[in-house]
Amino acid sequence: MEENTKNNVAQPVIDSKIPEGPIAEKWTNYKAHQKLVNPANKRRLDIIVVGTGLAGASAAATLGEMGFKVLNFCIQDSPRRAHSIAAQGGINAAKNYQNDGDSVYRLFYDTVKGGDYRAREANVYRLAEVSNNIIDQCVAQGVPFAREYGGLLANRSFGGAQVSRTFYAKGQTGQQLLLGAYSSLNRQIKMGNVKSFNRYEMHDVVIIDGRARGIIAKNLVTGKLERFAAHAVVIATGGYGNTYFLSTNAMACNVSAAMACYRKGAYFANPAYVQIHPTCIPRHGDKQSKLTLMSESLRNDGRIWVPKNIEDAKRLQAGQIKGSDIPEEERDYYLERRYPAFGNLVPRDVASRAAKERCDKGYGVNNTGQAVFLDFSEAINRLGIDVVRQRYGNLFDMYEEITDVNPGELANTINGVNYYNPMMIYPAIHYTMGGIWVDYELQTSIKGLFAIGECNFSDHGANRLGASALMQGLADGYFVLPYTIQNYLSDQITVPRFSTDLPEFEEAEERVQANLDHLMNIKGARSVDSIHKELGNIMWDYVGMARTKQSLETALEKIKALREEFETNLFVPGTQEGMNIELDKAFRLRDFITMGELIAYDALNRQESCGGHFREEHQTEEGEAKRDDENYFYVSCWKYNDDDTKAPSLIKEPLHYEAIKVQTRNYKN
């Protein structure tokens, strides 16, 4: 890579390969001029796709349709179980079916603004551009989106937008979209273009002559390491939310595949941008294994509040009164108060911080003081319980199953006004905007290694809007990567298939094996989960919703000590023969620790507040995030330095905005 010597520091120059031309023509231009691979040659090229979520499954299926030979890996027992399935609310597209003034430009603009002006403009525009194709694609696959009585598609509103552009399938949009992608994938598996490996976990990426040429994966059932070779490797392994132990991510979500790429030289971009979702069920005891998300769609009709009087809050915390005992005029609908234009539909980062602000001031409403109310009384009184249940019935049931409280139940009548049980919610780690750095072609800094979906960093900037994750995953998998990967593969057509006996494979497998042996041989006293919980607490307390220089430095120290504890006092029962779930978890925890450190390094470096990254030193008088565009208008790319214990080095990819004027985010008016 080319070196420059600006600021007397040798830094590789980041080439994001953004095509020439005005923003609206970049993707068209790219496609018109990119190199393609002819059908006969496609058959001779193998592609590994790791992951079967929206991005992975759609990419594997589409590459298979094109005629490439695809090896597709999934950690669960079936591709259909990837965590994309849990997305509830919906998927955005600029169809403007509601005639409310939506357009590709507006979706692009909302996404860039929602991301607090830290996304790469060209990528976001492309995302908005292909968003419409995704809806067409999914409908053709038989995805049963919600419809109006006239037979056309229905829409709902989501945070950060003033139009209704979110397509949905009840509260299970992720499930339906994933099953759509899974069905296309199944077709390709049947046709023999895709070979599917279930209950396999990628443990390392194999680099030959500077290009990604294969992976080492563990068969989780037999416990054996296996080698797979291909002309290109695509990772679609999701985000790193589980670094915080408690998150809305599934239990198997992990960052090991991304960390393997990072250790092999792929840059990790913007790790500090972690999304904290405002509407999750609050934590209870220390036995909790995960946090449950209540869909953002609830904010369409639900109103968020805490008591106006601190005394009421104290009595709520002591369990002396219930939320429904507090009449309308004593309630502080703080989002509507602070952000009149967007009200309860402000972006997630804003809503989360506002909740934290109220709770920090002592207005929290449950016994831990870490919860706010989400209330449907007004909606039920306006629309009737039947309509409200039709919209959110499954979410109400889910809430009741977990908390034993039914939000649709009439709890009190004060001065003739009916009050229903409010839900209690609190922010929780949900999504990670940061990820493996990729260029416009979704290629990482390692040639032949691509990253798509939540796993990469590109489209959401510092904060993701609701219903955009599904859009990005499917855009990458169906409509972007299948094009851009050909630009890379076009000069690989003469490269014959690789043997997995090459020394590079040998060496990679040996290193993974040595790591596994080491984990088995520590023979200390602590379980994986006990250490992971400790990591989670450090992350939440010091690298969570509000960060300071001091908290981040403390976090780095504590993580260092925790790594030491992990390396010397871990206990993994059983053997490496057959399935060993503790060993698998230990393998992942090692990477979570490194990831935790990386988040803290990035958060420490970024001395501004933007989107999901909030530094207490950098806020306005009203407590809003204060960006520093002069000094931090860049993507932080972190480069691994040979060893987990060494600090990574920072490389900056400056951002260039042509189409949008960078300004302060305003959701007030």
């Binding site: 696959q141 419809r147 239990m251």
Partner: protein, 251 residues
């Protein structure tokens, strides 16, 4: 209100597919009733690891009732005693102090045990691969609003598509039949215009794959629908029968 209870867990332990399994009973103390059932298993596993023993292997992932990964046959019910919920959505307040809870894997010839409570449900993938899709290539779609679909049909297709493929229907069925699972997918496509073009081919392929994989014959006991965590309805099976009979008669 949250209280703590003591329970005994009688759990099926089996080292590998070939090994002979057996029940082992474990005692757990002071479990808060706000704890989910899987978190209780987590607590048990922590306890086992502390004693240097291997933890109980069980499938689980999203823990919010949508991925279909969790299984477990608890006290005679797939996904436990709660209706319309998966095991991961089951909370300890459903059990009483001192109760012995029997936990078994799905038992069906088509779902062999991998380890302890974990079974291999690959047969479901194979059925889907046989024809559970609309054959068209990415990029070839027309505008999403080009074909209006009645809300009634779309909603019904959505109800069928809600199936999470967990296998509770097979586990609940005394015949080990997978009809509810197959019918849910067939119904989804049968109800939508997009699925019509290859409806006949689909239903024949999926059904013959189902038969080939050794699932039992449906005798309409309805246990599948009664235990389904997503309330997939029996009428789907009638639709599957209808689609299949019509397809065969049209041959």
């Amino acid at each position: 209100m949250e209280t703590n209870i003591n329970v005994k867990l009688k759990i099926w332990r089996q080292a590998n597919p070939q090994a002979k399994g057996e029940f082992v009973t474990y005692e757990l103390h002071d479990i808060p009733t706000d704890t989910s059932f899987l978190e209780t298993l987590d607590i048990l596993n922590e306890q086992l690891i502390e004693q240097g023993e291997e933890p109980v292997a069980f499938d689980h992932d999203c823990r919010e009732g949508i991925c279909g990964m969790c299984s477990l046959y608890i006290n005679g019910h797939p996904h436990g005693p709660a209706t319309g919920a998966t095991t991961c959505q089951l909370y300890m307040r459903r059990f009483h102090d001192g109760e012995t809870i029997t936990v078994e894997p799905w038992r069906s010839a088509a779902f062999p045990v991998i380890k302890d409570l974990m079974v291999n449900r690959n047969a479901f993938d194979q059925i889907q691969q046989a024809g559970g899709y609309v054959s068209f290539n990415t990029g070839g779609a027309q505008d999403a609003n080009a074909i209006p679909i009645s809300k009634v049909d779309a909603d019904e297709a959505m109800d069928s598509a809600t199936c999470i493929g967990c296998g509770a229907c097979v586990a609940a069925c005394k015949n080990g039949s997978a009809m509810l699972f197959v019918s849910a997918k067939v119904s989804q496509f049968a109800l939508l215009p997009q699925g019509k073009a290859e409806a006949k081919r689909r239903v024949k392929a999926m059904l013959s794959k189902m038969d080939e994989l050794g699932f039992g014959n449906c005798t309409n006991t309805g246990a599948c629908a009664a235990e389904c965590p997503k309330n997939i309805k029996l009428s789907n099976i009638a639709r599957l029968n209808r689609e299949f009979i019509c397809a065969k008669c049209a041959d």
